[in-house]
């Protein structure tokens, strides 16, 4: 799966969250957009919902089961949780290649 495709799936997931009411406003997504951490528009449950939904979309797109495991993201530090859209897209690109 290309970076562009994984990035698109992230955007689609955030759009879906906004439509469902979990996000008050639409997020203009760029690679530096904060998904998890200070500055994110998602609260903890919102992030869980986002990851769960994204996991399903990636699996559907890739036609096989994929699981997004934060601690497997090289740049992710569990003690100071922070995740950007770009980092997440690169991670998904890597696990789906």
């Amino acid at each position: 799966m290309t970076y562009e495709k994984t990035y698109e799936l992230i955007c689609d997931t955030l759009t879906s969250l906004q439509r469902s009411g979990m996000l008050e406003e639409a997020i203009v997504v760029n690679p530096d957009t904060v998904i998890l951490g200070s500055g994110s528009s998602l609260d903890s449950l919102g992030f869980v919902t986002f990851i769960s939904d994204l996991e399903e979309r990636v699996s559907a797109e890739g036609n096989q089961d994929y699981y997004l495991i934060l601690t497997e993201i090289h740049e992710f530090n569990a003690e100071q949780a922070f995740l950007s859209a770009g980092t997440l897209a690169r991670y998904i690109e890597k696990i789906t290649e």
Partner: protein, 239 residues
């Protein structure tokens, strides 16, 4: 089983090969549910609305694959009953091997955790559901010889309460059913003297029946229990 136009509620139960899990599965099959079960062995239930997969719940990847397949086939999970667990081999702390302790950690704690994690993700996306975990009054009686078992059930109770708080905004209720002594395959190995001694410590001095547990599962699966979450229902014992 193909999903097609199944409109019955879907209940997922772990540990359906025998005892309480099989009893719960049969009860809800008789009440019109689609039941999805698992065990480490072959299925022991034959029913058109029953789907079985051989899963070792202590294996994270097996659980992930199983739950993902449930979503693909059935589209939703309305109720989860985490029943799979081991009860065997009571021994004092001083005589409990690391291997025995690890078995309780792997199956009773990690197994329950794996299933709750994967199913909760589905329920979060569907904005609703009921999760029921099974504990034991041994966590209240603190019987000698039950340390590994009791600590595993206490862990399950705590996990359920935390999960209840995490997913409440998504209309998902999580509760614990803690039965007193039941007459099942798991407890048949206990001698009558031990069973009698346990009954004497209970408030209601008799075995809890599988049907009585099913009544509670039915309640927690119903809209009538929507305001109840994070609770432990002790059956047969005043705590």
């Amino acid at each position: 089983m193909e999903r097609s136009e199944q409109i019955q509620p879907v209940m997922v139960i772990t540990g359906t090969s025998k005892g309480l899990g099989r009893g719960i599965a049969n009860y809800f099959l008789n009440n019109g549910y689609c039941v999805v079960g698992c065990s480490r062995g072959e299925p022991t239930i034959v029913h058109e609305r029953y789907d079985h997969t051989q899963v070792d719940v202590s294996d994270e990847k097996q659980v992930q694959a199983w739950v993902r397949s449930i979503k693909k086939i059935f589209g939703r999970i309305d109720t989860l009953v985490c029943n799979a667990g081991i009860l065997n081999s009571f021994s004092h702390v001083a005589l409990t091997s690391g291997a025995l302790l690890q078995a309780f950690l792997d199956i009773n704690i990690a197994g329950t955790f794996h299933v709750c994690r994967e199913v909760s993700k589905i329920m979060i996306l569907q904005r609703g559901g009921s999760i029921i975990t099974i504990s034991s009054i041994m966590t209240q009686l603190h019987e000698p010889g039950t340390s590994a078992y009791s600590l595993s059930k206490s862990a399950v109770t705590e996990m359920t309460k935390v999960l209840a708080r995490e997913v409440a905004p998504m209309n998902i209720n999580c509760n614990v059913i803690s039965p007193s002594f039941m007459t099942t395959d798991a407890t048949n190995s206990f001698n009558a003297e031990y069973a009698s001694a346990i009954f004497e410590k209970q408030t209601i001095k008799r075995p809890v029946t599988i049907e009585e547990v099913c009544n509670l599962v039915s309640f927690f699966s119903s809209p009538e229990s929507r305001c109840i979450t994070g609770q432990v229902i002790n059956m047969g014992l005043v705590c």
